[in-house]
Symmetry: C2
């Protein structure tokens, strides 16, 4: 009997009481009963997203909402500045390509965060940029971008700022209204502690105005239709009823803890993880690390793929490896959602055990000791 421990940056563990809430009787979505649930959810989502803008809930993975943030705001031939410092920044650029939007790519070295001054320069150099796309936490590298500073630049221009906060939300602070972020994209299976299947998108008045002029084709992801339904606490298509029941529950849990405390918890676990791996003699990959996920360089003599595999198959702890060019070169431990101090300590202990097995020279318990010091 070895327990299954999910420590990846999505999906993340779902609290047992939320899992059970989703096992409740399925109710019909076009009824006052379900309308009341949606109304509740819509109010709470604004609080969790720290915005007064509508936060739309879509039945899809996060990628669907990323696509929605392009096809509803832009037109064919439009220019978009895309901060591309990892797999998910690259995805924005890829979607632009599929729809005939010209992506001006700001290629940030993987592991670095975007420089707001470069964003400013690129907007200046490329007149007509209608939207700037960035990740909050770039999940593939564990980097947190300085959205506040980027928003300061973008909000002074005609462009809207779209931030993929799928993995960052509730781990790395984002204050859309205070900072001037127009569109925040989210997903259910990260800090929101739900199974995958829901995506979110908030829209500032500036973004809503862009929708009016956009000519790209869309149907399922039509945000004009979604906004119209949203105003009546409804959805244009059949919503994912059980996931929304769970959403209502997790939002309660998060608001009861308080968003500040939720952020502080993620910060604390992330900090402890960073210091623990450093104490083990390892190096962090991200220069400006996110509190959603910690990316760690695999030490030279260790097989990075074996590390992740042994963690999962022998220790029962699912962490993530590196993606694309980073395959085998980094591993990633998440701090997202329903994860606590002893989950973090377990992950660190697991890493110590497996690194030792793979021939890495370390003093047992050194990483855990550091974590105990910071989490105790």
């Amino acid at each position: 009997m070895r327990k299954y421990r999910l420590m990846s940056p999505g999906p993340t563990p779902v609290p047992e009481k939320v899992l059970l809430s989703m096992a409740d009787t399925i109710i019909h979505h076009r009824t006052p009963q379900f309308g009341a649930v949606l109304k509740d959810v819509n109010i709470k989502l604004k609080k969790v997203f720290c915005t007064e803008n509508p936060v739309l809930t879509l039945a899809s993975s996060g990628t669907g909402a990323m696509e929605a943030s392009i096809v509803n705001l832009l037109s064919k031939g439009d220019k978009a500045l895309v901060i591309r410092g990892g797999k998910f920044g690259a995805r924005f650029s890829e979607i632009c390509g599929f729809y005939g939007v010209e992506a001006v790519n700001y290629d940030v070295e993987w592991g670095d965060s975007a420089d707001p001054a470069v964003v400013k320069k690129l907007i200046g150099d490329n007149p007509g940029v209608k939207a700037v796309y960035s990740t909050l936490c770039e999940t593939s590298t564990g980097v947190c971008n300085d959205i506040k500073a980027i928003a300061e630049v973008v909000s002074k221009t005609d462009a809207v700022l779209v931030v993929d906060s799928i993995s960052g939300l509730s781990a790395d602070e984002i204050r859309p209204d205070d900072w001037g972020v127009d569109v925040v994209v989210g997903g259910s299976q990260k800090g929101l502690m739900l199974p995958p299947g829901l995506a979110f998108i908030s829209l500032s008045p500036k973004a809503q105005k862009l929708i009016e002029g956009s000519d790209l084709p869309r149907y399922y992801f039509c945000l004009k239709a979604a906004l119209k339904s949203y105003a009546k606490d409804d959805t244009p298509w059949t919503p994912a009823v059980s996931l929304i029941t769970g959403l209502n529950k997790v939002l309660d849990i998060m608001l009861e803890e308080g968003i500040k405390n939720v952020l502080a918890r993620h910060a604390r676990l992330a900090e402890a993880t960073r210091e623990a791996v450093k104490a083990m003699g390892l190096e962090l990959f991200a220069k400006n690390p996110s509190n959603a996920v910690t990316a760690v360089k695999v030490p030279g003599n260790v097989d990075g793929l074996a590390l992740v595999k042994k963690m999962r198959d022998e220790q029962g702890i699912t962490i993530a490896g590196g993606q694309a060019d980073l395959k085998g070169k980094i591993f990633r431990i998440a701090h997202l959602g329903y994860m606590d101090e002893y989950d973090t300590i377990s992950a660190i202990a697991g890493i110590e055990i497996v690194l030792k097995q793979l021939g890495f020279d370390l003093e047992r318990g050194k990483g855990v000791a550091k974590a105990e010091e910071l989490l105790g």
Copy 2:
């Protein structure tokens, strides 16, 4: 304590053991463990869809798969013949419009089924029709289209036949490979007895060939990407893990009962409902009624909206009213998925009680007596 009885044509009740299976620990999707689940699901889906073609599972409502069946098969300016005999046929036409596909609409009077001879004539009159879109069960009218006969016409041409079987699947027979149906679109929240949030699409070799030549933009619903992942028992985007766990379970339940028996059960409940409402002095709306849902005309002196509302709010039985032009004019009782004889009898009894309350002249128990006779 009045129980909640869901008798609408989607969502439908989910068996308790399936609800609980979805409350199991969330596992990571990019692992051999989840790959094994997907492999299992993919094999079983073929059996339930009665096809050897791949059946792709998408994280979206059924509408997403309807859109996928257009944007992946056609190109801008292409012609599609759309059988439009209700709200869902109309949706195909609408999606075509959004993407610059010319929809040749075959407008069937709501309540009638499509005439295969007219389909044949329209294909002849409109050279270049690349795809024909039909519903199996047109949920909005309760009509079942004669897909076998339509397929006989279409399969002799270069066009592919796409059938929206979202509500029809497992209630009305469809044999894609035997009949020559190229694309079958499905949804989770109907006969498949799951919550909403998954959509399905099967693709014949003829349909897969069309994908190669299609130039419409798509990303999240890109079936080329989905097919590539499918071949490795994977998905291009994060799948709806908990719903797929439930899917694995319902497919077992359905295959254990046997698809023939599942169809026979739906036929039996539908037949009993039709005869019961007729015994109550009511008239059926659909000329060729589906076994997924029975649409009944609201009698002249009765307020149709009040009927559905009283059923839901006072009797605890959620049936559906009419949509669009049929609002207040029909009501619809489903026979879909996890519904049995006594659910059906309860719905009929509820209709008797409420019709009586609304001043309709009927003999109490007459409808139920007929149902007992047919279901006992």
